[in-house]
């Protein structure tokens, strides 16, 4: 979508104070086949797993996904057919289970499915989009092969004579973000590092916000310094406890390392990698009636354990 069209999308939408609470099913209908979608969090921290789970269930196809670093969810998005292209700085599973074999299968078979940028490069694409400018200069990636593969243009600053690269803005069709707290209007409060979620929320033309907990607007007004996603960016709000599980949500729960390990180790050992992930999707994504049933498959013990470990102010 062009720079002007992306601005027009913001101009035209209803940004006012209205109740934006909805169901996960309904919220996800904002995402259309072929859309460019920014996904919040970073690697396996604060990934909006629940919203991606529903997108996979709704069988959206051929999305271009922007995420600062991709983790396990990248496997699921590729194998389900949801993701046609990953735009990221890093793509693998966890650290202990080696390089993602799913990423390798897709990217080695068709390199155009994985567009690599440096982390700052991708950050600045979203940042420029958030700032309402079509491009922004940077020193990063100069001279590297990423400069060429990303098709970046050189730029000489007319004031200083400095050589830089220009990174083009990106304005995704939708951003999907998970916050610890939000109100019904869409004021989101992310605790811990906001990753690129603030930039994504401003850059995207529409925003789906899932949250651990909906709070009263008066609580937001009591703690305005903590609001980092303002309501006028947001189009749908869904309360979704454990919405990042089995990834982590800062201050709420740690990653479910054991469950991630079952997946990671299983994939490592499987002969048919794609088949293994398809079975995983079948069991955990397509079969459950709803997100609570999904969580039930992992069990209460895991939820309690990750919660206990995830406490920030633990002694």
């Amino acid at each position: 979508m062009s720079y002007r069209d992306s601005r027009q999308a913001i101009v035209e939408k209803n940004k006012g104070l209205r109740d934006k609470q909805t169901t996960l099913e309904e919220a996800v209908t904002m995402v259309q086949d072929g859309d460019h979608v920014a996904v919040g969090g970073l690697q396996y921290t604060r990934t909006p797993v629940g919203a991606l789970w529903e997108i996979i269930r709704q069988k959206r196809q051929n999305l271009t996904i922007y995420k600062p670093l991709m983790s396990f969810e990248g496997d699921w998005l590729f194998v389900s057919g949801v993701m046609g292209k990953a735009v990221t700085s890093w793509f693998s599973g966890g650290v202990t289970w080696g390089v993602s074999k799913i990423m390798r299968t897709f990217a080695e078979n068709d390199p155009s499915t994985f567009d690599e940028l440096s982390l700052l490069g991708l950050s600045l694409r979203l940042k420029a989009g958030a700032m309402g400018i079509p491009c922004i200069p940077t020193k990063s990636m100069l001279g590297s092969d990423l400069e060429k593969t990303a098709g970046l243009k050189r730029f000489t600053c007319p004031y200083s004579g400095e050589e830089l690269l220009l990174v083009p803005a990106v304005n995704p069709d939708v951003a999907i973000i998970h916050s610890q707290v939000a109100d019904k209007y869409g004021n989101g409060q992310i605790f811990g590092p906001p990753c690129l979620d603030i930039e994504s929320a401003k850059a995207a033309n529409k925003v789906i916000l899932t949250t651990e907990q909906i709070v009263d607007n008066e609580h937001i007004r009591d703690t305005p310094n903590s609001t980092n996603i303002p309501f006028f960016c947001v189009d749908a709000v869904v309360e979704l406890p454990f919405g990042c599980y089995p990834h982590e949500c800062y201050g709420r729960y740690e990653p479910a390392y054991e469950k991630l390990g079952e997946y990671g180790q299983g994939l490592l050992e499987a002969t048919d990698k794609i088949g293994f992930v398809k079975e995983y999707l079948e069991k955990y994504f397509y079969q459950p009636e709803n997100f609570e049933e999904y969580l039930s498959l992992f069990g209460v013990k895991s939820l309690l354990e990750t919660t206990r470990l995830g406490r920030i102010w633990k002694p």
């Binding site: 940004k15 006012g16 937001i220 305005p224 609001t227 309501f231």
Partner: protein, 256 residues
């Protein structure tokens, strides 16, 4: 005009121009009163932003400036100034509401300098966020007291762009915001011709003659074929407004 002041009239006309659900960047004084009045009367989902970092605050005591803690009272967020201004550039601000200023035929505003910049007759305080609002808000409303020295053929200095030299000049320069849509004065309402982008009288307030408007305008002012008379402020509108400024700091008789 016996039962309301020029300021009250303008604030209520400003309030009526605002719609529910809009995001409004409002300066202190009459624009802010218009926005709060609209929230009370007909636009509960309208949200006010302030450049200092206020996001939909719940205004109590009227701030003397939009750049103080009173303008951030019960705000929903407290962004940095640069982020507030960038919301404009990204298209999030539906209405930029500017106060009185020297304004010309094409809606350009001068708040920088009277006379030549190198040898000013009067150096004014400057833009603040007004240039950014005029550049990038989706539409701009102006409230101004109507007098000849304010409504000039050509401003000495374009602090905030309207339609520049008229016609397609604004679009050609690359600006994206819609520019000035409406000028509200104590005499009437002015809009801009879609071709020439020249200010045109589209409505007069009850009891105001076209003659009076022409006398108080410093350039030849076209009049719309469909000139209307505005509906005077209702008692309900006035009562709601007066409750917002009980000390009549902004609503008093006379110019503003």
């Amino acid at each position: 005009m016996s039962s309301y002041t020029p300021a009250e009239l303008c604030v209520i006309m400003g309030s009526r121009a605002l719609k529910d659900g809009q995001i409004v960047f409002a300066g202190a004084g009459l624009p802010l009163l218009s926005a709060i009045h609209a929230q009370k009367m007909h636009a509960p989902g309208l949200a006010i932003l302030f450049e200092v970092g206020g996001v939909a605050p719940r205004i109590g005591s009227l701030p003397r400036s939009t750049n103080e803690a009173r303008s951030v009272r019960r705000s929903m967020a407290t962004p940095a100034t640069v982020d507030m201004m960038l919301y404009l550039q990204r298209g999030f601000v539906d209405v930029g509401f500017l106060g009185g200023a020297q304004i010309d035929r094409h809606g350009n505003i001068n708040s920088s300098v009277v006379g030549p910049l190198e040898k000013p007759k009067v150096r004014l305080p400057g833009s603040g966020g007004a240039n950014d609002i005029a550049s990038s808000a989706n539409r701009v409303f102006i409230i101004s007291y109507h007098e000849k020295r304010r409504f000039v053929e050509k401003v000495d200095f374009v602090t905030s762009p309207g339609f520049l030299d008229g016609g397609q000049a604004r679009e050609e320069t690359g600006l994206l915001g819609g520019g000035v849509e409406r000028v509200i004065t104590n005499l009437g309402i002015l809009e801009f011709d879609s071709q020439t982008r020249s200010m045109t009288l589209v409505a007069v307030h009850p009891g105001v003659t076209q003659q009076e408007v022409h006398e108080k305008t410093g350039f030849e002012l076209p009049v719309s074929d469909a000139l209307e008379e505005t509906t005077p402020p209702s008692e309900e509108e006035l009562t709601a407004l007066r409750g917002l400024d009980p000390e009549r700091k902004y609503l008093k008789e006379g110019d503003f």
